[in-house]
């Protein structure tokens, strides 16, 4: 349960998030909106990269904003990046291990936990391969494995399917749907691919110009007139 209350972020004169109030329940929740709507900024607030000027974020009753940036991962915030950021110089296994050992994962179960996460995304055969030599789809999967290893409490996926062909996206969608069952952590999914969002998310919230303009059951939200005009309208213009 993530409760966001009156959250405001300001960079100089720009207000990427403007008094956003939303409650995200468990399961997989979609977060959509046109470019520049504030989606990634919202993720950056949750991961501690950006300090909001006002508002609060409570996660499972705790004040998330009070946690230092690098301790957020230890607390349980995991994320993937819009531009894929799996560490090219490390093996698949070491990429996942890095997260486990820096987030307070138990030493005794380390090997098992890491292999579980690698197996979860289906990269167990490539576990010892250097990530830099893998294709873009596998590197995206490495990021997902990093997001689920150990004990995540909140998983943020920022356009995980960007640049993937349709069949890869389909595989990714199956994985994303399994994350909440596997880890018991709520997942927030940002993506422009509406089929991915509808396939994965029971509920969806829509941002436009830093404001929350709709939230609720995904199929209903996607039919909402405001959403269609705000979102799809801009898409056509682009």
């Amino acid at each position: 349960m993530i409760e966001v209350d009156e959250l405001t972020v300001r960079f100089g004169g720009v207000v990427p998030i403007d008094r956003m109030t939303v409650t995200l329940a468990g399961g997989t929740c979609g977060l959509i909106g046109p470019n520049g709507a504030g989606k990634t900024t919202f993720f950056n607030v949750l991961s501690g990269f950006v300090k909001p000027v006002a508002g609060s974020v409570r996660a499972f009753g705790e004040d998330l904003l009070a946690v230092a940036d690098f301790r957020r991962a230890r607390w349980g915030v995991r994320r993937t990046f819009q531009t894929e950021q799996a560490i090219a110089n490390l093996s698949v296994y070491d990429n996942v291990l890095l997260v486990h050992e820096n987030t307070g994962g138990a030493r005794a179960t380390r090997r098992q936990d890491v292999m579980d996460a690698v197996t979860f995304v289906g990269l167990e055969r490539e576990a010892s391969h250097q990530v830099g030599r893998l294709g873009v789809a596998s590197r995206r999967l490495v990021e997902v494995a990093r997001a689920v290893v150990g004990k995540p409490r909140l998983v943020l996926l920022d356009e995980p399917a960007a640049g993937l062909p349709a069949d890869e996206t389909e595989h990714l969608a199956q994985l994303i749907r399994r994350i909440p069952e596997e880890t018991e952590a709520p997942v927030i999914l940002v993506d422009h691919d509406m089929s991915l969002v509808s396939a994965c998310c029971a509920t969806t919230a829509v941002l436009d110009f830093g404001r929350l303009i709709a939230s609720g059951i995904t199929s209903e939200v996607l039919r909402d007139e405001h959403v269609i005009s705000a979102y799809l309208g801009t898409e056509e213009e682009v």
Binding site: I87, D94, G122, H129, R133, D167
Partner: protein
């Protein structure tokens, strides 16, 4: 799902092709390495006269400095221009400790390393919030400042007071050698042993949690933080570790024949050190050995041949530009590749079809 698998298999092929020879070469490598170490420790001193043994000893000592700087640049992605002066600080601290305490030699150089490590971390501290360029500039300024102070204070020569340099003191600043290694050959072996320990320390750090954290940092600050890496701590640790190594090397240098004097630390050597480390290669520990040979052995060889050593400065300048432009891996990366290419070329000459024989996965 099948499509995904196929794509993976297709991509796995080149990777495993690369990995197979490595795993095959594993035992071979260990044997070659053991042979090499045995030759350096037992064979080499018998082949060299006193002069060349001293040159090689100093190369061994400097390989510890190049190792630290290589780690800092190659693993943590930070450039320091003050490592050469931290070497001087290590020597200075070791000399002072020897005067003030009766610590045994190994403890002496260890403490010199720790003190230098702390000083290095102190210099690196402001850089944690500044970009890489500013860190390099801070270290450049620190190098300049240390040089000025060192020129005034000189190395301790057994005099009293804090700086310990007085006309009443000895003529040279030299640390007494450990009892088991008073001779030149024994001291050479001692230095090889210490350098070996430092390389093991480096290997342990690079393969372990620190190495993974540095790899994340080098990719991007955001990636590292998102993975829960305490970036401040690991940046500082990289700096402290490199400085620690410079300090240990300084202790060894102070006990080297002739001891230390400030003329060994001209300003441009900080830049020469960076040049050889880049040329040697920062992504491989072998690069540190190559760098130390470039820095200490090559000038002596050229001198022996009657070639002006100023040409070496020019060569190192060209080396910096070349490495930054075309060969980021340096010689440690380039030479094996060139040899492999040469070998492949030769093999292809003999059996032209060998090229197409891709090993099955």
């Amino acid at each position: 799902m099948t499509a995904v698998r196929t794509l993976h298999d297709g991509e796995a092929a080149p990777t495993s092709e690369v990995r197979t020879p490595r795993s095959l070469h594993g035992p071979v490598r260990v044997v070659v390495l053991a042979g090499l170490v045995a030759f350096v420790v037992f064979g080499l001193p018998t082949l060299l006269d006193r002069y060349w043994l001293q040159i090689v000893t100093s190369a061994v000592i400097y390989s510890i400095v190049t190792l630290g700087l290589g780690l800092l640049i190659g693993r943590a992605g930070m450039v320091s221009l003050c490592q050469f002066l931290l070497l001087a600080i290590g020597a200075w601290v070791a000399l002072r400790l020897e005067y003030a305490t009766s610590l045994p030699f190994p403890v002496l150089i260890l403490v010199a390393g720790v003190v230098t490590g702390l000083i290095g971390a102190l210099i690196g501290l402001p850089a944690l919030r500044l970009s890489g360029l500013y860190l390099a500039l801070i270290t450049l300024m620190a190098a300049g400042a240390i040089t000025v102070v060192l020129r005034i204070a000189q190395f301790p020569n057994g005099g009293g007071g804090f700086f310990g340099n007085s006309a009443a003191g000895g003529a040279s600043s030299r640390l007494p050698r450990p009892e088991l290694a008073t001779g030149d050959t024994a001291y050479f072996r001692y230095c090889v042993a210490v350098a070996g320990l430092m390389f093991l320390l480096a290997l342990w750090q690079v393969r372990g949690k620190s190495g993974r954290a540095w790899a994340a940092l080098r990719q991007s600050q955001a990636t590292a933080v998102a993975a829960g890496v305490n970036t401040t701590l690991y940046r500082l640790w990289a700096f402290a570790l490199a400085s620690f190594m410079a300090g240990v090397a300084g202790g060894l240098l102070a006990a080297d024949s002739g001891g230390v004097n400030i003329n060994q630390f001209p300003v441009q050597n900080s830049i020469l050190l960076l040049a050889v480390v880049l040329m040697g290669g920062v992504y491989s520990l072998w690069g540190a050995v190559v760098a130390a040979l470039l820095l200490r052995l090559l000038p002596a060889v050229l001198d022996d041949w009657g070639v002006s050593t100023e040409l070496l400065t020019i060569l190192f300048g060209i080396g910096i530009l070349q490495v930054l432009l075309t060969a980021p891996g340096g010689l440690a990366d380039q030479v094996p590749k060139d040899l492999a290419n040469l070998g492949r070329g030769l093999r292809n000459l003999v059996t032209p079809k060998a090229k197409r024989a891709v090993p099955p996965t």
